[in-house]
């Protein structure tokens, strides 16, 4: 506790962490180098793009692990007593509100994804909001209604497509003769300046992240809520 008083003041611009020339470099160089106003996104998706790719893989692996542990196929285990599931009759107010609200939530999620390199937001946040819209559908109706839109095999396909988009951007850079995830080379296929190509590629990888996060969010919810049966739940 006595050491706490030696910490620099909160938000002190002259503290060692803030005055070190690496952070100064990010603050001054991000916009000229990438034409992205949001430095956090630039560091996340461009300078540290390799980290973020494997963060997406971590989320994918978490989803796979949840499915591997919880998902149950075949006849029910008779030893475990069948829990009486809460039978839900449809409720007019909740259903109408969700019917009006879910499209708006999904539109907002796409806005968050698409605006991630200009304002706070990005693939992870937008993906979570998009997955939450399906969870809301599953809560308001039942799991079957949401499964009609995102069945189980489509969840895994979408999660894989997300990582494929992200690593595809990396390998496209390799194919064009640059380093892995060095987006500036992509100006050859995008038809913009190398600096703008970095900005556009960041949007591309954010979309990949959003695919994976949204799919895995709903997968985790539906597995947990239905005890792995994927039939009915909360």
């Amino acid at each position: 506790m006595s050491a706490v008083s030696d910490f620099p003041d909160w938000g002190d611009p002259h503290s060692p962490a803030n005055s070190y020339r690496l952070s100064q470099g990010y603050i001054t160089e991000t916009f000229p180098e990438t034409s992205v106003p949001n430095m956090v996104t630039a560091v996340l998706a461009d300078y540290r793009g390799y980290d973020t790719m494997f963060e997406t893989v971590v989320i994918f692996t978490a989803g796979i692990a949840i499915i591997a542990i919880l998902r149950r196929y075949g006849p029910k285990d008779k030893v475990v007593p069948e829990q009486k599931l809460y039978k839900k009759e449809p409720d007019l107010i909740v259903e109408t509100t969700c019917r009006l609200m879910i499209p708006i939530i999904q539109l907002f999620a796409l806005y968050v994804v698409a605006h991630g390199h200009h304002s706070p937001g990005g693939g992870f946040q937008g993906g979570v909001i998009f997955g939450a819209s399906f969870i809301l559908l599953a809560l308001a109706r039942d799991l079957q209604a949401a499964q009609k839109w995102v069945p189980e095999n489509r969840i895994l396909n979408l999660a894989g497509i997300g990582i494929f988009i992200y690593s595809g951007f990396g390998f496209l850079c390799l194919l064009l003769g640059s380093n892995f995830l060095d987006y500036s080379i992509l100006h050859k296929v995008m038809g913009v300046t190398p600096i703008e190509a970095r900005s556009h590629s960041m949007l591309g990888v954010e979309i990949g992240v959003a695919f994976t996060v949204a799919a895995i969010m709903f997968s985790i919810y539906s597995n947990l809520a239905s005890k792995g049966e994927m039939k009915e739940g909360l």
Binding site: I93, T97, L100, I104
Partner: protein, 113 residues
């Protein structure tokens, strides 16, 4: 100046509703009355506070501030819309689950009328 006074009045009355909702959650006897206090108090207080903040944004008028005020207004609409619905869903779940309704007789120890 007038705008600032309006903002202060709106935010303070919002805080009053928030305190009322918080006291209601603690003091009311059963599930339904507590949800009543929480749902109504929170919706109204968040509405008043956010409207006050939105008007404060318009104090020095510019297009950027108008955009921020519009976004705050959308949040307000969303909360006015989602809050009562979630309260309704919770109350309905409480009825289905069999929560007892508090009556005055419960307090005196008499059997339910």
């Amino acid at each position: 100046m007038i705008i600032e006074i309006i903002c202060i009045v709106l935010v303070l009355s919002g805080l009053l509703f928030l305190v009322g909702g918080a006291i209601g959650i603690i003091r009311f006897p059963d599930f339904y009355t507590r949800m009543h206090a929480a749902g109504k108090g929170d919706t109204m207080s968040v509405f008043l506070i956010l409207i006050g903040v939105a008007i404060y944004q318009l104090n020095d008028f510019s297009i950027a501030n108008l955009l921020v005020a519009g976004k705050i207004f959308f949040i307000t609409i969303f909360i006015m819309w989602a809050g009562p619905t979630s309260t309704h869903a919770l109350i309905k779940a409480g009825i289905d689950e069999g929560q007892k309704v508090w009556t005055r007789e419960d307090k005196k120890g008499k059997p339910d009328a």
